[in-house]
């Protein structure tokens, strides 16, 4: 391996470690938002509860969209590794659409809750719900923007080493959000309905 290639590999390793550490700090944020939610579940102030508000079918559909999008992102990663530009962009497009679907469903759910007077300013419980789930949704939205940017980079620069490396980190981010969603589904929606 040439000196240049060795340095390039080292740089990517450092970037990957740095990104893992960022994800860990993000995980701490989510953990604290989960803890806050757990503490505030009963802070409904006589207002609407999870049981009254949550739609398990909607949550299930969101889950399917997000989990499938992780799979399609996996296909995009595989295409990238084998130098298949068309495949990478195509699968990224599918992932993007699934992600947009997820965000659309979530925004619709939020709007519905606000319309019936169950917005984040109604009670502590709802503040915690909107912030936890909303923070996740904002992360997904940032991920969608990042997918667009990576697609543009693949088109303009091709599947160069830096581009593939960035795609790997986007993958880490996307799968991390999946795991966070599994937590949300399990801790927020399911118990809200039991």
């Amino acid at each position: 391996m040439s000196e240049h290639e060795r340095e390039e590999t080292e740089t990517q390793e450092q970037r990957n470690l740095g990104f893992w550490l960022y994800l860990m700090s993000d995980a701490v944020i989510f953990a604290l938002l989960f803890a806050t939610y757990a503490i505030m579940i009963r802070g409904t102030d006589g207002g609407p509860t999870g049981k009254q508000l949550f739609d398990l079918n909607n949550a299930a559909l969101e889950t399917v969209l997000l989990l499938v999008s992780s799979t399609t992102f996996g296909f995009a990663s595989l295409s990238a590794r084998t130098g298949n530009r068309g495949g990478a962009i195509g699968w990224l497009a599918v992932t993007f659409l699934l992600g947009v679907g997820f965000v659309f469903l979530e925004v619709r759910e939020f709007a519905g809750m606000i319309a019936v007077g169950a917005g984040p300013d109604r009670s502590g419980f709802l503040s915690a719900f909107f912030t936890l789930v909303g923070t996740h949704g904002v992360h997904v939205t940032m991920g969608l923007l990042w997918i667009l940017i990576m697609s543009a980079q693949i088109v303009l620069k091709g599947l160069t080493a830096p581009v593939v490396s960035r795609l790997y980190r986007l993958g880490l981010f996307w799968h991390f959000l999946d795991i966070a969603w599994v937590g949300i589904f399990s801790i927020v929606y399911l118990p809200g309905l039991l």
Binding site: L32, T36, S127, T131
Partner: protein, 657 residues
Amino acid sequence: MFGKLTIEALPLYSAIAAGGAAVTVGGALLVALVLTWLKAWKYLWTDWLTSVDHKRIGIMYIVLALIMLLRGFIDALMMRAQQAMALNAGGYLPPEHFDQIFSSHGTIMIFFMAMPFMTGLINLIMPLQVGTRDVAFPWLNAVSLWLTAAGAALVMVSLVIGKFSTAGWTGYPPYSGIEHNPGVGVDYWIWAVLISGIGSTMSGINFMVTILKRRAPGMTLMRMTPFTWTALCASVLMVFTFPAITVACGLLALDRVAGMHFFTNAHGGNMMNYANLFWIWGHPEVYILVLPAFGIFSEVVATFSRKRLFGYESLAYATAAIAFLSATVWLHHFFTMGASANVNAVFGIATMIIAVPTGVKVFNWLLTMYRGRIDFHPSMMWSIGFIVTFVIGGMTGVLLAIPPADFLVHNTTFLVAHFHNMIIPGVLFGYLAGYMYWFPKAFGFELNRGWGAASFWCWLIGFYLAFMPLYLVGLKGMPRRMETYNDPTWQPYLMVAALGAVVVLCGIVSMVVQLYVSIRDRKLAADRTGDPFDGGALEWSTSSPPPPYNFAVLPTVGDREPFREAKKNGTAYRRPASYTPIRIPSNTPAAVILGGFAFVLGFAVIWHIWWLVVVSAIAMFITVIARSSDDHAEFTLSAGEVKRIEDERFRQLGGRA
């Protein structure tokens, strides 16, 4: 169009407030004038503001810290003066001004003096000590700096436009909520902390990756310098605990801006959660600050005792233990919030346990001095003053760790004395020791020893005069944060404390004089070898200041003190057979621009200028995208260039090479 911002935001309601604003604006204008007179704007921009070099970034952090030390200390002088006079509603400050001052004093000293000072020293020295060319993410490093500066700028602007928070540096709701504090003060605090906190998290990531992945070949973890060890542990804490204050301030901001109920009295809010979130960050934060200071003491005491550091392995394990334990004690900041005896007792015991590794460190430093040959360089004086004074604070900490004892003195000036008794000798003396120790490395000439010693004695005596009375008046039942009081027996103590503040002022003036005298006499005290104190670690093997690439040939390490080994073996100043070209990250305006927009974003949120919030957010986004899409933001220094720089270095070394 301008949200809540109107002409009423100007502090024309009181002479003192107007004075503060005038000094701030005047100071900024003065700096601009001097730069213009020296024709230094271009130099400032190309060589400093757009730099991504860890050494430059480190120096800028320290400059920020020293300026904010002055600002925070003026707050301290004003508080001590007020309390010395304020028996029975005496005192010179208008109502509620004192409350802003104690809030900004704490906020500035922790977030904008101590954190930047530490980050600056680690930036300046750690990459040299691990034998690498720069930190892992040089551009991110610059972004961290400018985000911190943006936060500091918000605090400074609050002197001129609007008011600062009166909720203390801790910002407890519901007092800090929108219902009880609808003005902009708390918002200034929130956004200054949030923005600089993001910078600190990124620095933590940067330092961790640098230390874990960029050490010179042969440098195992147990061969790192003590300072690097403590920088690593502090960085781990930064990455894992700064998210907690981001959440605490973020949720408070949501309560204030979006009418949510995280911490409100009614509607299902839970104010106790804020205390938990804040201190889950807050306690590790003080260890983030003190561990690198401990690392500095380890290096300084060894160098100026002319001995190897005693108990290196013990110190490394103790550092890791302290870092881990620091995340288990946060509840001791609110023993009086009504938790059960079991909960209070568990956290009290955890707090006591931290005293054990800390005590081990103190003994190791003492044993390093033992049978050494001590040179009383100012840095050594700071270290000795630290040991004597810090253990007193540690003792009062153990007292406070016992919940029923804490019930008697929590939130009194006894507590204030305790934590200043830890932070001033622990953190500040450590950073000042590091500043005076590594100044020659950064600038190529030594600081004047006499004025350094004067500064030390004034700080030490001033500290005791200012804070020992506070322990005593706290035992008399005086709560903290009191603008006036009605017990005349308190006043003598507070007057002595005010005298102490004046003595510390002499210490600060001595530091300013030291700087002036040292710059004036720099040719006489020039550091031509890069090794003015016969150091053992790698930073002393470079020139002072080091070249942009730090090491022409990256070192290989076989010992805990690689440079001392090399000096013993005669391999220290060898010229390599040939030089290779070196790639160096290019300067870029993207980081300072990002910081500028972060400032605007914070200001816009505070004043509810929503269109400007959107515009600055988009601008930040575009800056980041543009920068990240740049794959080749570096230039190459040719082998000939490197040789030229190295030849000059060897010429300076003269006899040594």
